[in-house]
Symmetry: C2
Subunit: 213 residues, 2 copies
Amino acid sequence: MLVFYDFTPAPSPRRARIFLAEKAIETETVQVNLRTREQLGEAYRAINPQCTVPALKLEDGTILTENAGIFAFAEAFRPDPPLLGRTPTEKGLVATWNARIEQEGFAAVAEALRNSSPAMKDRALTGPIDYPQIPELAERGKRRLEAFLDMLDARLAGRDHVAVDTFSLADITGLVVVDFGKMVKIEPRDDHTNLRRWHATVSARPSVGRQAR
Amino acid sequence: MLVFYDFTPAPSPRRARIFLAEKAIETETVQVNLRTREQLGEAYRAINPQCTVPALKLEDGTILTENAGIFAFAEAFRPDPPLLGRTPTEKGLVATWNARIEQEGFAAVAEALRNSSPAMKDRALTGPIDYPQIPELAERGKRRLEAFLDMLDARLAGRDHVAVDTFSLADITGLVVVDFGKMVKIEPRDDHTNLRRWHATVSARPSVGRQAR
């Protein structure tokens, strides 16, 4: 049995949870409470020295400690439905858009939140080492997130999905980023009509809708 | 014919260049001079609005503007030799290690360099929007890079390759990060013996050795 290390309210494991649900891959799930800093304790550090969730323990004991690793494993382990693209061109487009959303969107929210939240003092980065907050980074993150939402809205004009004609990892990452943005009080504007339409559609998928965030 | 948008001295396109060379994928190559900010000019912006290299134009006109997209395309387009892992577990490990090296290593050097170099004033991030340098980030980047080199040295104890038993994308990214670190005057220490052994071996590969950095 696969073992999934999760924290339901956090955005990173949410990406993996949706991906695994789309593929109907069953796991045992272990909650790691980030609010009490359980991820920094000795027990979880023995599982993932990076002190992050998600992580996925495979049947042979291998532990994948990054979303990228979980996606690559799951796509090869259960190819249907394909979430990383079907043809070489589609695979290139899905990976390109997913990377853009991670860098321009996810990183922006994380930068804004981790450098401003009192609960995250000295936790400006994930991982075992404490780094102090940098207030300028929080501001920069908000500016970047606003630019990202504009970009994603433009990309979705006339499109049902972000990267290719079918639902893919890029949609999952985009959805999670848009919801994560609420943590820093930045949401799609009323005139982001493409983004709002797409967000409503992807949020209604069974893999997404039935899950707590 | 594929068209590869490159700038030989830069670390990001170097990753794609080595990857494509390992697979003997031929391209036409176009140099985009980052030193004269050609990537921000109208001509290149029409190709890649993100103003970054590398980019790869496919035969149908699709343009992949991220390394992640180029790797995913190339692995599917020419599966041999596999650089993203052979089995589901290997694919998970290669993607996990590649992601760690990108985040803990590549991002650390970029943070250190872009927030300190006089030539990169207001270019703290890649992309079309100018962001001012944050000196604290330059210092943080150097600390992170030192921690990364320690981590990679420990990982390579008794191993010939970073992620799996064969050469993979994780080795390419690691190699490029170690060389990129010289730009901020941080190199493997004398006692990083595993890292130094691995670096010498991977640097001698024909795909790496015959290329200008």
